[in-house]
C-alpha cells in the first residue's frame, strides 16, 4: 500500500519541477527545479525494477548534467547570483533548511531501523526479478546482444567530448579558421567575425567593416 503514496508524491514533484523549469523567471531556479524532476524520475525507476538506472539517473542527470548546466549558466549569465540585500529571506532560509534536514533524517532513521526492516519497505513488485538487482543482467545484455551499440556509444562520447572542446575553446591569435572568408583575423578570430559578432570586439567600426566584407564575399 506504500507504492501509490510514493508514486503520487514523486509524480507531483516531477510535474511541478518540470513546470518550474519551463515557467520560472530565473534560469538558476530552473536548474534547481530540474534536479527535483530528475530525482523524482529516479524514484519512478526504482518503482519499476530499474535500480541500476535509478542510480545512473541520479549520478549522471541530477548531479553531473545539472552541474554542467549551472556552469553554462554562470559562464554566460549576468545574473545577480549573490543578492543579499533583503535580510528577511536570508534570515528565514537557514532554519527552514535545518528543519527539513532534521525531518528527513528522523524519517529515514525511523523507517530504516524502527518501522520497517530494510527489505520490507519496498513494494512487492520491486526487486522481484532478482534479489541482487538488475545490474548483472544489464551488464550481460550490454556485452552480448547490444555490444555494437555499446561500442558506438563510446565512440559517440569521445567525438562529443572532442567536439565540445573544439567548439568552445577560445580562438588563438592569428588562427584563421575559415580561410575562404576574406577577413583579416582580429582579436576575436575569423570565426567570430563570420558569426557577425557585435560585441566582444575592439571597435564597432571594424566589425561593421568586416561584416560588410563578409556579405560582399559570400
Amino acid at each position: 500500500m506504500i507504492e501509490p503514496i510514493i508514486f503520487w508524491t514523486f509524480a507531483l514533484i516531477a510535474v511541478g519541477g518540470a513546470l518550474g523549469v519551463v515557467l520560472h523567471r530565473s534560469i538558476l531556479y530552473s536548474a534547481l527545479f530540474l534536479i527535483a524532476t530528475f530525482l523524482s524520475i529516479a524514484a519512478f525507476f526504482v518503482l519499476n525494477n530499474a535500480d541500476f538506472l535509478a542510480v545512473a539517473q541520479t549520478v549522471v542527470y541530477a548531479v553531473g548534467l545539472t552541474i554542467v548546466m549551472l556552469f553554462g549558466i554562470m559562464f554566460t549569465g549576468q545574473l545577480p547570483f549573490a543578492k543579499r540585500t533583503d535580510g528577511k529571506t536570508v534570515s528565514l532560509a537557514p532554519p527552514v533548511a535545518v528543519f527539513i534536514f532534521l525531518t528527513l533524517l528522523a524519517a529515514v532513521a525511523l523507517s530504516a531501523f524502527v518501522l520497517f526492516p530494510v527489505g520490507d519497505l519496498l513494494p512487492q513488485t520491486v526487486l522481484e526479478l532478482t534479489k541482487e538487482g538488475t545490474t548483472k543482467m544489464l551488464g550481460k545484455l550490454l556485452f552480448s546482444s547490444y555490444v555494437f551499440p555499446f561500442e558506438l556509444a563510446s565512440v559517440l562520447l569521445l567525438v562529443a567530448m572532442m567536439g565540445a572542446i573544439v567548439i568552445s575553446k577560445r580562438e588563438l591569435d592569428g588562427d584563421v579558421v575559415m580561410t575562404h572568408v576574406a577577413v583579416e583575423p582580429d582579436e576575436t578570430g575569423a570565426l567570430a567575425c563570420a558569426l557577425n559578432a557585435n560585441s566582444d570586439a575592439s571597435s564597432d567600426s571594424v566589425q561593421g567593416d568586416s561584416q560588410a566584407r563578409i556579405l560582399t564575399t559570400v
Binding site: A11, A31, L34, F44, F45, Y61, G77, L142, V159, N198
Partner: protein, 108 residues
C-alpha cells in the same frame, strides 16, 4: 479510495511521461533562454526514459532490453548536453547574449 488512485499501473507512468514530455516540448517552443531550451530537451529525454522503463517492466520484465535502451538514451543525452553547452558558450562569446531571438540571423 478510488481504484485509479490506489493501483499504480502502466497507464500512470505513461501519463506522467506524456505530461513531462509535453511540458518539455512547451519549454523548447516557448522559452527564449538558450540554456532553458537545453533543459527542456533533457526533460523530454527523461520522459522517454520513464516510458521505456515502465513498458519494460510491464510487458516483458525478464528481458531488460528497455532499460538498455534507456541507458543509451542517457548516454546520448549527456553527449548532447556537452555539445549544446559548448555551442551556447561559443554563441555567447560571439553575440554576448543568450536570447534565442538574437540568433535568428539565418532567417530569410
Amino acid at each position: 479510495m478510488p481504484d485509479w488512485l490506489a493501483n499504480i499501473g502502466l497507464s500512470h507512468y505513461l501519463t506522467v511521461s506524456f505530461v513531462l514530455f509535453g511540458i518539455g516540448l512547451l519549454g523548447v517552443v516557448t522559452s527564449r533562454h538558450v540554456i532553458r531550451v537545453l533543459m527542456s530537451v533533457e526533460l523530454m529525454l527523461n520522459a522517454v526514459n520513464v516510458a521505456l522503463v515502465a513498458f519494460n517492466n510491464t510487458v516483458n520484465p525478464n528481458d531488460l532490453s528497455g532499460q538498455v535502451f534507456s541507458i543509451f538514451v542517457l548516454t546520448i543525452s549527456a553527449a548532447e548536453a556537452a555539445v549544446g553547452l559548448a555551442l551556447v558558450i561559443a554563441l555567447y562569446r560571439a553575440k554576448s547574449s543568450v536570447d534565442m531571438t538574437s540568433f535568428s540571423i539565418l532567417k530569410g
